[in-house]
C-alpha cells in the first residue's frame, strides 16, 4: 500500500525524470529489436522500419505506461482543465453566457431553497416537533378562533390526550428608567408552555402550577438575549428582582440560547398568565384571545386528540353555558393542527409558488446552457473528428468534454454561490412581515451542498449529450465540414430545447402577469378611509398611577389635546385598533330586535371622538361620536354599512339598541344605542371585505384600555411630524412608551407584503426567463444561419430577394416561438391553479394577461430572430460560393 503511494507520488512529483527513464527503457528495447532484425539478415534501414512498426505508436505506448503509473488520471484532468480553459477563453461569448446563466439558475434556486427550507421543510427546533399541536376553537362559519381561558381550563381538567398543554397571549411590559421608557415584547403563559414545546430553562426553573394563581406571585423567565443585553449575562440573576410596569418581578429562570420561540419570535420574557380559575362569566376569561399549544401524548394522534377534545367541549358547553354566551356562543368543535403547518399556513402558497418559479428558472437555465454547449459541439465537430483520427479514444473525448462542462458548472456554481448569498440577504430584507422563522434563514451547509450537487449534476448532464454526440459521429463524415445527417438530428434537438425554453418562460410570465394584475387590483381597492397624510402610532400607559379607568382616560385625553396643538396637525384621535395594522379585536354584538341571547362577532373599535373624522371614514346615516358621548352618558354606538345592511336591510338602524362585548347576552345590562352608520373599512386585508364592525367611545366601553393607537391627519409629510407628536405626548408624561410609528400608506403596503413579495420574485424570474429564452432563440438561429450560409448564398444567387431570405430565417425562428407559446399556454393554465390563493379580482385564466404575455414573448422572439435574419441578408453569394 505504502509502496504504491510512494510510486504514484514519485510519478507525480518528478514527471520529467520518470518520462526520461521510460524513454531510455523503450529506446533500449528498440535497439535490441533492430539488432535482432539485422542479425537475421535485414539491412539496417529495413530493420529500423520493421522495429518501429512492431512497437506501434510510441506516444500511445508512453501514454499507456503513464496510465499504468496511476497518476495519469490527475495529469490528464489537469491538462484537460487547462485545455478547457484555453478553448473556453477563445469563445468568450459562450463562456460569459453559460457561466452567467448557470450562476443565475443555481444562485437563485439556492437562495430560494435557503429561505423555504427552514420554513416549510425543516422540522421545528424542538424535540419530537411533530407532536406539538396548535389548538383552536371553531365555529361552523368562518376561520378558527383563538381559544378562551374557559375552554382551556376545561380541557386541562378533562382531556387525556396531551402530555403538556398551555395557552399564551402577548404581553408588552414596560421598563421605566433611563431617559426613554423601553417596552419589551413578551408573553403571558400558563405553566405547561415550555414543556409543551419540549424546552426547559438552562438556569433556574420552569414555571410551576403554584406560579399561575389568580393574583399569584410576580415571577418572570428571561430569554438568553435579554439576559445578555440588559443584565450583562449576570450569573446570579436568578432570584433577583426587575421592575416591569411599576411592579417588581422575581427572575426565576433563563431560557437557553437555542430556544427559538416560533409562536412569538420577538418575545423576550415570560410571566404566568394568572387568570381567574373561577371563570367569572363577564371577565376576560371568556374572551377569544389565547393561543393554545399542546404536546400529544405518545400513541395519540391528531385525529384522536381532536375527537376527544370535541367530546370534552360538548360537556364544557353545558357546564359553562353562561360563560360561552358572553364569548359569543359555544364553539362547534376544536381544530388540532401541527404547530409547523399552523405557522406556515399563511405563507405556504406564496413560498410554494416562488419555489415553483425558481425551479422553472433553473430549468430554463439548464436548457439554455445545454443549447449553448450543443451549438459549440457542432462547431467543434471537425476538431473532435480530427482528434479521434489521431488516436484519441472515445473515452478520452468524453472525458475532455465532461471536464469542460464541469469546469463551466463549477465556475458557474461558485458565482452562483455569490448570487445565492446576495439573494438570501435580499430575500430576508424583502420578506413579508409574519414570515415565520426568519431568524432561522441562512445559507447553511445543507443548502450549500445542495447548490454544489446541483452544479455538478447540471455539469454532467450538460456535458453528457454533446460528448456522446461528438464521440459517436463517425470520423469520415465528421472530417467533412458539411455532414448533413448528424447536424440534422442535432438541429432538431436544439429546436426542441428552444421550444421548451419559450414554453417555460411563458409559464413564468403568465404567473408574474397574474400576480401583477392582482396586486394592482388590490391596491386600487378603496380601504374605506383616506390613507394619505395619515400617521399612526401606539401609545401605552405604564405604571400603577393608571390603575383606575379615570386616570387612564385622563391621560389619553390630555395627550390627545397636546397632539392637536402640534403645528401641522389637522386632526387626531385614539382608537383601540388601526385598520390593516395586523391585529384585530372581535367582540359579540347582541341586537335587541333579534331576541337571541348570543351575539354576532364584530370588529370593535373603541375610539375617542375625532377618530372617524381623522380617518375620513364616510358617515352614511345619523351622526358621529362627540364629546358628549362620555362616561355616564347613554352609550352611543356607530356600526358599519355592512353590519347595518345585514341586520336591518332597508330599515333605519338609527335608534336601535344592542348590547356589546361582555354585556352581550346579559339581560341585566343596559342597552347601547346606534347613533350612526359609517362606511366599511378594510381591517384585516384589502382582499377581505364586508366584515361587521362597531365603534364605541373609549369612555363608554366596560373597561379602559391601557394601549391605544393614535391616528393623526397632517398637513404635508406625515412621517416628518412624528418626532413633534411624540414629544407632545411625552410632555404630558415622559414615561409612556410610544411604538409602531408608521404612516397609514406604509401599513397599506405592508398589508399586501406577502403578495408583493411573491410578485417581486416572479417579476424578476420572469424577466430572467424571458432574457434566457431570447438568448436561446438567438443562439439557435444564428448558429443555423452560419451552417446554412452556403444554402443562403445559393438562394441569393438564384434570385431570392433580401426580403425572401429574411422571412426564411424569421419564419424558422417564429415557428419555434409559436410552438413554444402553444405548449407554454397549457403549462401556464396548469401552473396558475397553484396561484389561485394569491390572486385577487383576476381570473386565473385572465385573457388580458395571457394576451399581453403572448404578444410580449413573440415580440421579443421576433427581435431575437431579426438579428441573425439581418445577418443572413448580408450573405454575399459570390463570396460564399467561392469559399467552399
Amino acid at each position: 500500500m505504502l509502496r504504491d503511494l510512494l510510486f504514484r507520488l514519485r510519478c507525480l512529483v518528478r514527471p520529467r525524470q520518470v518520462e526520461m527513464e521510460l524513454d531510455d527503457e523503450l529506446r533500449f528495447h528498440m535497439d535490441k529489436q533492430i539488432e535482432k532484425f539485422v542479425n537475421s539478415g535485414m539491412t539496417l534501414q529495413e530493420a529500423r522500419c520493421q522495429a518501429r512498426l512492431a512497437v506501434g505508436g510510441i506516444d500511445q505506448l508512453k501514454e499507456e505506461c503513464g496510465e499504468a503509473h496511476g497518476v495519469y488520471f490527475l495529469q490528464t484532468l489537469f491538462r484537460d482543465a487547462c485545455f478547457g480553459f484555453r478553448t473556453l477563453r477563445k469563445s468568450p461569448g459562450f463562456l460569459v453566457l453559460s457561466v452567467l446563466t448557470l450562476a443565475i439558475g443555481i444562485g437563485t434556486s439556492t437562495a430560494i431553497f435557503s429561505v423555504v427550507n427552514p420554513i416549510l421543510f425543516k422540522s421545528l427546533p424542538y424535540p419530537h416537533a411533530d407532536r406539538v399541536m396548535m389548538i383552536w376553537e371553531s365555529r361552523s362559519d368562518g376561520p378558527p378562533l383563538f381559544v378562551t381561558y374557559g375552554t382551556f381550563h376545561g380541557i386541562v381538567e378533562r382531556s387525556r390526550s396531551f402530555d403538556a398543554i398551555a395557552v399564551a397571549k402577548p404581553w408588552q411590559p414596560t421598563s421605566i428608567g433611563g431617559d426613554r421608557p423601553e417596552r419589551f415584547e413578551g408573553q403571558r403563559v400558563t405553566p405547561g408552555y415550555f414543556r409543551a414545546l419540549g424546552m426547559l430553562p438552562t438556569m433556574g426553573r420552569d414555571f410551576q402550577a403554584a406560579d399561575d394563581q389568580f393574583r399569584g406571585p410576580r415571577v418572570v423567565i428571561l430569554s438568553d438575549t435579554l439576559w445578555r443585553r440588559r443584565f450583562a449575562s449576570d450569573p446570579n440573576i436568578v432570584g433577583q428582582q426587575v421592575r416591569l410596569d411599576d411592579d417588581l418581578f422575581t427572575v426565576v429562570g433563563i431560557m437557553p440560547q437555542s430556544f427559538e420561540n416560533v409562536m412569538a419570535p420577538t418575545a423576550e420574557l415570560w410571566a404566568p398568565l394568572q387568570y381567574d380559575p373561577s371563570l367569572p362569566a363577564e371577565g376576560r376569561e371568556w374572551g377569544h384571545h389565547l393561543r393554545m399549544v399542546g404536546r400529544l401524548r405518545d400513541g395519540v394522534d391528531k385525529e384522536q386528540a381532536r375527537s376527544e377534545l370535541n367530546v370534552v367541549l360538548a360537556g364544557l358547553a353545558q357546564t359553562y353555558a353562561k360563560g360561552y354566551d358572553s364569548s359569543g356562543g359555544a364553539p362547534n368543535g376544536m381544530v388540532v393542527r401541527s404547530l409547523q403547518s399552523d405557522l406556515t399556513k399563511g405563507v405556504r402558497p406564496a413560498l410554494i409558488a416562488v419555489l415553483g418559479a425558481v425551479i422553472l428558472v433553473l430549468l430554463i437555465a439548464c436548457v439554455n446552457v445545454t443549447n449553448l454547449a450543443l451549438a459549440r459541439a457542432i462547431q467543434r465537430n471537425g476538431e473532435f473528428a480530427m482528434r479521434a483520427a489521431l488516436g484519441a479514444s472515445r473515452h478520452r473525448l468524453l472525458r475532455q468534454l465532461l471536464t469542460e462542462s464541469l469546469l463551466l458548472a463549477i465556475v458557474g456554481g461558485a458565482l452562483g454561490m455569490v448570487v445565492a448569498n446576495l439573494g438570501v440577504s435580499t430575500l430576508i430584507a424583502l420578506s413579508p412581515p409574519g414570515l415565520p422563522r426568519v431568524n432561522a434563514i441562512h445559507l447553511d451547509g445543507a443548502v450549500f451542498a445542495f447548490g454544489f450537487c446541483l452544479t455538478t449534476l447540471v455539469g454532467i448532464l450538460i456535458g453528457f449529450y454533446p460528448a456522446l454526440q461528438a464521440s459517436r459521429s463517425d470520423l469520415h463524415t465528421g472530417m467533412q465540414q458539411n455532414s448533413r445527417r448528424t447536424t440534422d438530428s442535432r438541429r432538431w434537438i436544439r429546436r426542441a430545447l428552444v421550444v421548451s425554453e419559450v414554453a417555460l418562460a411563458l409559464v413564468l410570465l403568465v404567473s408574474a402577469g397574474l400576480l401583477l394584475r392582482s396586486l394592482k387590483r388590490l391596491l386600487s381597492v378603496d380601504p374605506g378611509f383616506d390613507g394619505s397624510q395619515l400617521l399612526t402610532m401606539q401609545v401605552q400607559e405604564s405604571g400603577h398611577r393608571f390603575d383606575t379607568a379615570a386616570a387612564r382616560n385622563h391621560f389619553f385625553a390630555e395627550a390627545l389635546d397636546a397632539v392637536r396643538h402640534v403645528p401641522g396637525v389637522v386632526s387626531a384621535g385614539f382608537t383601540s385598533q388601526v385598520p390593516l395594522s395586523g391585529d384585530y379585536d372581535v367582540y359579540g354584538a347582541q341586537f335587541e330586535k333579534d331576541n337571541s341571547s348570543s351575539g354576532d362577532g364584530a370588529f370593535r373599535y373603541a375610539v375617542t371622538p375625532g377618530m372617524v373624522e381623522t380617518m375620513r371614514i364616510p358617515l352614511r346615516r345619523g351622526r358621529l361620536l362627540d364629546e358628549h358621548d362620555s362616561a355616564g352618558a347613554p352609550v352611543a354606538v356607530l356600526i358599519n354599512e355592512s353590519f347595518a345592511k345585514q341586520k336591518f336591510g332597508t330599515e333605519d338602524p338609527i335608534g336601535q339598541r344592542l348590547r356589546l362585548g361582555p354585556d352581550a347576552g346579559h339581560a341585566d345590562r343596559p342597552w347601547a344605542t346606534i347613533v350612526g352608520v359609517v362606511g366599511d373599512v378594510k381591517q384585516e386585508s384589502l382582499a377581505v371585505g364586508e366584515q361587521n364592525a362597531f365603534y364605541i367611545p373609549t369612555t363608554q366601553w366596560p373597561w379602559a384600555e391601557n394601549v391605544l393607537s393614535l391616528v393623526v391627519r397632517t398637513q404635508g409629510d406625515a412621517a416628518a411630524l412624528a418626532p413633534a407628536i411624540r414629544s407632545a405626548i411625552w410632555s404630558v408624561d415622559k414615561d409612556q412608551p410610544i411604538v409602531r410609528v408608521a404612516t397609514m400608506n406604509s401599513l397599506l403596503a405592508a398589508s399586501e407584503a406577502q403578495r408583493h413579495f411573491a410578485l417581486v420574485l416572479f417579476e424578476l424570474f420572469a424577466v430572467v426567463g424571458l432574457i434566457l429564452a431570447a438568448i436561446g432563440i438567438y443562439g439557435v438561429l444564428s448558429g443555423s444561419v452560419t451552417e446554412r450560409t452556403r444554402e443562403i448564398g445559393v438562394r441569393a444567387a438564384l434570385g431570392a430577394t433580401r426580403r425572401d431570405i429574411l422571412s426564411l430565417v424569421i419564419g424558422q425562428g417564429m415557428t419555434l416561438a409559436v410552438l413554444g407559446v402553444g405548449i407554454g399556454l397549457l403549462g401556464a393554465i396548469a401552473a396558475s391553479r397553484t396561484l389561485v390563493t394569491l390572486l385577487f379580482g383576476v381570473s386565473q385564466l385572465d385573457p388580458i394577461t395571457y394576451l399581453t404575455v403572448i404578444v410580449l414573448l413573440l415580440g421579443v422572439a421576433a427581435v431575437a430572430c431579426g438579428i441573425p435574419g439581418w445577418r443572413a441578408t448580408q450573405v454575399n453569394p459570390s463570396i460564399t460560393l467561392r469559399a467552399e
Binding site: 509502496r3 510510486f7 527513464e21 527503457e25 533500449f28 512492431a54 512497437v55 506501434g56 499507456e64 505506461c65
Partner: protein, 110 residues
Amino acid sequence: MPEPRIDLPQGTLDLLILRTLSLGPQHGWAISERIQQISNDVLQVQQGSLYPALHRLERRDWVKARWGTSENNRRAKFYELTKRGYQRLEIETDAWEKLAAAVGQVLRTT
C-alpha cells in the same frame, strides 16, 4: 513454419511476466523474447502491452526495477520479483492451473 500466434487472454500476461522473472532478473526485451521462445513463437508479447504491464506490476510491488548494464554494456532497466511477487506468482499459477484443468475437463467430456 511457426504455429499461428494466439492473442493472450486478459490477465495472463501478468502471469507470464511473473513466471519469466521467477528465473531471475531480466529487462523488458529479454522478457518478451523469452516468452516467445519458450512458447515456440505461439505467444508474442507486444511492447504496447508489455511495458504498461511491467509498470503496473511495479506499482503493485510485485516486481521491483533497478538500472543495470546489459550483456553488451548498455544501461537497461532490470525487473525482478519481490517477495510479494513470488506469492502472487504462486496464487496465479494455482488459479490458472485450476482454470485450465476445469476448462479441459469440460471440453473433453462434452
